[in-house]
């Protein structure tokens, strides 16, 4: 199965590279030139040396010709080498760019279901690290493999051309080098695995203890922590020493085998020279071949693992690219313009996971301009309703209609721009405060932005910031408090004012006094607009036209605040528990 998967991955990669067919050909040609000419140099050097027989017996004329040849070959080789690496760079980075763009485009069209159910770190590592690994390993590996094999073949050919006997000797000794290298590599591998395993254990311990240093200190747990750490640290020392040592004897060992080959060639060559079968120059060419001959073997074994990693990474990237996108808007989809804001849920069934039913047969009619509040304990499906309204998820059965149109027959863009949404998780972009407020309306004027900020009670803290509206919000809004971030999210919606509003725990991080002030702005904003409000602070929803009390995916009670209290049901219980002691 693995091989099959590899095969299809390789096919796709070749497909991607296919666009750059001619570049690849040129690169391969340059690689060929480089290898052949590089190998030709020792022969030329050998010939030149043969012209230098002894005092008074130097053949300057022939040598001059050879040296000139050498000069030309050197320049051509260097040029070919440069062109090759340049082309390879171009191909690599272009292919990476293509794939990365494709992956990112996929990200924008993936259904929320995928994004919610996969670790973000994993998706990101596919787009960043895996694609990098792929480019490094696969394309670099490919050229190295190609030149490596070519070098081995070329060396063999040149050696056999000079002297078959000694060449045969070199071929016989070669396996020794491979054997030593793989012998060590196998042993090293297990040590490295142990080392990285121990490192992993240690990192998670460090993350846990240092990441929560304040708790450690609060419980005066420092000594215990130190003890735990030192135990694992000692273990790491032992494995670290072994792994480092064993991996570092690879080089000396292969170097030793190399020097054995060198000695053999030296002796055999010298004896052959004594018998007139070889010139001194040819011996010197042989020696330099013997020196570089084993190098590509070691490289190739490294390249093979690189290639395997690269293939695995490529497979992971392709997996992401192959994920199904959101169902596209249907061709007859209506564009919702100036929605009135009447929202109807008819017999809606939905669950994230087929085995765990969540929302079942939910019905709701939100007339234009009404305020609908949704309350209930955690996990009852409040936020799910919002996912459905915004069509982040599609209903399993039943329908949701806006102004009488099933939302599956409305373009997503026009549907979503009819909604203004403030969520509990306050997401802001890296960029200036101004850009963030204008996120939904990039062409808003300065005046509109400031007005929106004022209405959201964000203007005063923004003006107190060092750069005012130009203050850059760092990643995740690290330089703002949770409450300030929420105010900016509110300002962002205040600027667009679409016909339907969704406020999901929109004021949960704002202290209640500020909230009270914002409520006024909210009230103004909600005038004439259909709004859905989710909150766990019951005080914020008393004014709603309808309160839906949800529990386990069902609406169990429905009515105004007063009605529900007098019914003395679940809502009344929730409400009263706020004040009990």
């Amino acid at each position: 199965m693995n091989i099959k998967k590899h095969k299809s991955t390789v096919k796709r990669i070749l497909n991607k590279i296919g666009k750059y067919k001619w570049s690849v050909m040129a690169s391969l040609f340059c690689a060929f030139l480089t290898v052949v000419f590089t190998l030709y140099i020792p022969i030329l050097i050998g010939r030149a040396i043969d012209c230098i027989v002894g005092a008074g017996k130097v053949d300057f004329k022939t040598m001059g010709v050879i040296l000139t040849q050498m000069g030309i070959v050197i320049l051509v080789t260097a040029a070919a080498q440069w062109v090759m690496s340049h082309i390879n760079n171009q191909i690599t980075y272009r292919v990476v760019k293509d794939i990365r763009t494709q992956a990112f485009n996929k990200l924008e069209s993936l259904p929320l279901k995928y994004i919610d159910s996969h670790a973000h770190g994993d998706i990101i590592s596919r787009i960043i690290a895996d694609i990098d690994q792929f480019s490094d390993g696969l394309l670099m590996g490919f050229t190295q493999l190609f030149t490596g094999v070519l070098t081995i073949l070329g060396t063999l050919a040149f050696m056999f051309y000079i002297n078959p006997l000694i060449a045969a000797l070199v071929v016989l000794v070669t396996p020794l080098s491979l054997f030593v290298a793989s012998f060590i590599a196998k042993r090293t591998y297990s040590m490295f695995r142990m080392q990285s395993q121990t490192r992993g254990v240690m990192t998670s311990l460090v993350e846990e203890l240092l990441g929560n240093q304040k708790v450690v200190k609060a419980f005066a747990y420092e000594d215990e922590a130190q003890k735990k750490f030192e135990t694992i640290n000692e273990e790491l020392r032992v494995w670290g020493l072994k792994a480092t040592f064993f991996s570092s004897i690879t080089n000396p060992s292969t170097r030793f085998v190399n020097s054995l080959v060198y000695a053999c060639v030296g002796i055999a060559g010298a004896i052959a020279a004594v018998n007139g079968l070889l010139t001194v120059g040819q011996l010197s060419s042989f020696l330099s071949y013997a020196n570089q001959y084993t190098k590509p073997f070691n490289e190739i074994s490294g390249v093979v693992t690189e290639l395997q990693n690269a293939l695995a990474s490529a497979a992971r990237v392709f997996e992401l690219i192959d994920e199904e996108s959101e169902i596209p808007d249907d061709s007859q989809a209506v564009v919702l313009k100036h929605a009135r804001g009447e929202v109807v849920l008819e017999h809606v069934d939905f669950s994230y996971n087929q085995e765990v039913p969540l929302i079942e047969d939910m019905n709701l009619c939100a007339a234009q301009g009404k305020r609908i509040a949704i309350v209930g304990p955690t996990g009852c499906g409040k936020s799910t309703v919002i996912n459905l309204l915004m069509r982040f998820y599609d209903v399993n059965a039943g329908a949701i209609k806006v102004d009488g149109n099933d939302i599956r027959h409305i373009t997503r863009e026009s549907l979503r721009s009819s909604y203004g949404m403030v969520l509990q998780e306050t997401w802001l972009k890296t960029g200036t405060i101004r850009e963030n407020i204008a996120y939904g309306k990039p062409d808003a004027s300065e005046e509109q932005i400031v007005t929106a900020a004022k209405e959201a009670h964000a203007h005063s803290f923004i003006s107190r910031m060092p750069q005012g509206y130009d203050t850059i919000i760092s990643e995740d809004g690290g330089n703002l408090s949770q409450g300030q971030k929420q105010l900016l999210c509110i300002a962002r919606v205040m600027l667009c004012l679409p016909p339907i509003l969704i406020l999901d725990e929109a004021t949960s991080s704002i202290d209640t006094r500020t909230e009270l002030k914002i409520q006024k702005a909210f009230a103004k904003m909600m005038e004439g607009r259909t709004s859905f409000i989710v909150a766990h602070r019951l005080s914020t929803i008393k004014e709603a036209d309808v309160i839906l009390v949800m529990r386990d995916g069902h609406i169990i009670e429905q009515g105004t605040h007063e009605n529900l209290l007098s019914e003395n049901g679940f809502y009344a219980q929730l409400y009263n528990s706020q004040f009990a002691i």
Partner: protein, 576 residues
């Protein structure tokens, strides 16, 4: 870096012997071309097969000695580096443990973790490489030149010229491209950021229909990245062809000069071969050296980051290490005109706070976000030192207690509910090392956690995953509360630690704490008026100042801020 060198001092022997053996190996390697030269000049010339064989034997012997030397060197280097890393880590960990909240806030835990893990690893492998290679490569380069001098001074001058030229090219390209690589890395980070933002903000982006803009932005960043990469690639691609040309041109010149010297009888053919060999050796070593310098400079940067942590002095130190006996007739906790400035802050976080809490009392602390509630309770166990005034526990300034004793008396439940990997029992025993199951169950019962722990089946043996991922937010909060209660502290601080609990559970929890732990002085920090409404005393904070202090009824009369908070949460009737 100097500071870190002391961790090598335990491995002095290894740190000296390692490089020494490496030099030995290099010396033997330098002899090889000379041996070959004699093979050519004596063995082949005189048709002396015995000589050739004995010289071949010598080559093998040189190889064996080289192998032994270098394996010994590698062992010493590995041992010294591993030992260095280990003791550095132990000390660093211990040092971080002495830092107070103030320093942790300044530097941030994320970077402490990287410094503790990957930075130390980098330095460790830097030390290893340094011991192995840093002497060897320059030695081989210089050694090759010196060997050339022993053969022929005129020919050796070619070395004198080509080594600096080669070095200039190799190091020039490296130095030029290094900052460029940094730029590439930074751009890659931007691409990463774009991807991460689009995952985290997927709902907002789609709600505002900004997908196309995001794709455009990503294309821009990605395009920039490729542009940088291609540019750096172009520069780095120069390295191989350039050095190749230089080395081989040098060889041409060398052969030409050698030919003249042989013609005049100054040197032999075999010696020319040896000279050519030396020239080839230089390039390999120079490239190794350049790579080594990059690794070492990275390791040095890491070492500096680590050194910086060591230079951070703990802001809070014990001045007194002896057990202090409190006064029984004083209030349990007393704030005397306390003010506090955070380092680098523009305004003070607390100003002129004064109130006291008697044994067994419950103190409620309320105020808006950023009003200083957490800061106020954090000065009790002396996580931060006050800038002015004093905090007394049992009538004695907290700065006079040893930190251990003070923290023994105080149990704090932080806002962020943190649990550690391990069983529930192990987590509970953080508070009291030898707590019995009975004690733990009592605490769990008070914290309203017993029910769900029992439901887990494994009870106290239930394994909590790192970060408490396999528990809900409310469950985590209740366990952290239980952990503090296991300690049976004299002072219990709940820093907004029931925010994920529903109102009913929150109420039951407060009731249980009140009934079960009558002698405990409890500080309740909350944004919910209902949580602190029935406290013995309520401290109302606004912008770091005390806006009021008293019972609910009194504050409703006298404190405008408190009244506003209550009215924003409770109805007129409930407020009464």
């Amino acid at each position: 870096m100097k500071k870190l060198l002391k961790y090598l001092s335990n491995y002095k022997r290894e740190s000296i012997l390692g490089p020494l053996f490496k030099l030995l190996e290099a010396s033997f390697e330098l002899l090889v071309p000379l041996v070959m030269a004699t093979v050519i000049d004596i063995g082949i010339k005189n048709h002396d097969v015995t000589y050739i064989l004995s010289m071949g034997g010598l080559l093998v012997v040189l190889g064996i000695i080289g192998l032994t030397c270098s394996i010994t060197a590698q062992y010493f280097a590995a041992k010294a580096a591993a030992g260095f890393g280990t003791s550095l880590r132990n000390d660093l960990f211990a040092h971080i443990n002495t830092l107070s909240y103030q320093e942790i806030d300044t530097i941030g835990t994320a970077t402490l973790i990287t410094r503790m893990t990957s930075d130390v690893n980098q330095v460790q492998s830097g030390v290893n490489l340094f011991l192995r290679l840093f002497l060897r490569s320059p030695f081989v380069v210089l050694g090759a030149m010196i060997m050339a001098f022993t053969i022929d001074i005129k020919a050796a001058l070619i070395f004198v010229v080509s080594i600096p030229v080669l070095s200039a090219v190799v190091f020039g390209i490296m130095l030029y491209s290094m900052p460029l690589y940094k730029k590439v890395q930074m751009q890659l980070d931007r691409v990463l950021l774009a991807a991460r933002e689009n995952l985290g903000g997927v709902r907002v982006i789609r709600a505002f229909n900004r997908q196309n803009d995001e794709v455009r932005r990503f294309d821009e960043e990605n395009g920039m990245l490729v542009k940088f990469q291609v540019f750096v690639g172009k520069i780095s691609a120069l390295m191989n062809p350039l050095t190749y040309v230089i080395i081989n041109l040098a060889i041409i010149v060398l052969i030409n000069t050698g030919a003249n010297r042989v013609q005049t009888g100054n040197i032999t053919q075999g010696q020319v071969v040896a000279l050519v060999n030396y020239m080839s050796q230089i390039l390999v070593e120079l490239v190794k050296l350049a790579n080594l310098i990059i690794t070492i400079s990275k390791a040095l940067a890491c070492a500096n980051r680590i050194s910086f942590v060591f230079t951070m002095e703990p802001g809070i130190k014990d001045t007194n290490h002896n057990h202090v006996k409190g006064k029984t007739d004083s209030p349990k906790v007393e704030f005397n005109q306390v003010s506090l400035f955070y380092q680098g802050a523009k305004a003070e976080s607390l100003r002129g706070i004064g109130f006291c809490a008697r044994k067994g009392e419950t103190i409620g602390i309320i105020g808006g976000t950023g009003s200083g509630k957490s800061t106020l309770v954090n000065v009790i166990p002396r996580f931060y030192d006050v800038s002015q005034g004093s905090v007394r526990v049992d009538g004695i300034d907290v700065r006079e207690y040893p930190q251990g004793q003070l923290r023994e008396m105080v149990g704090i439940v932080p806002q962020k509910a943190v649990l550690f990997k391990g069983s529930i029992r192990e987590n509970m025993q953080w508070g009291k090392k030898d707590a019995s199951d009975e004690e733990i169950y009592r605490a769990l019962t008070i914290a309203q956690a017993k029910e769900f722990v029992d439901e887990k089946g494994e009870g106290l043996d239930f394994l909590i995953q790192a970060g408490g991922k396999n528990l809900s937010g409310g469950q985590r909060q209740r366990l952290t509360i239980a952990r503090a209660i296991v300690k049976n502290p004299q002072i219990l601080i709940l820093d907004d630690s029931a925010s994920a609990l529903d109102f009913a559970t929150d109420a039951r929890l407060r009731k249980a704490i009140k009934e079960e732990t009558r002698d405990m002085t409890v500080f309740l920090v909350s944004q919910r008026a209902s949580t602190i409404k029935n406290a013995d005393r309520i401290v109302v904070l606004e912008d770091g100042r005390m806006a009021g202090c008293g019972k609910h009824g009194e504050l409703m009369e006298s404190c405008e801020v408190y009244r506003e908070i209550c009215l924003s949460q409770l109805s007129e009737k409930e407020v009464q």
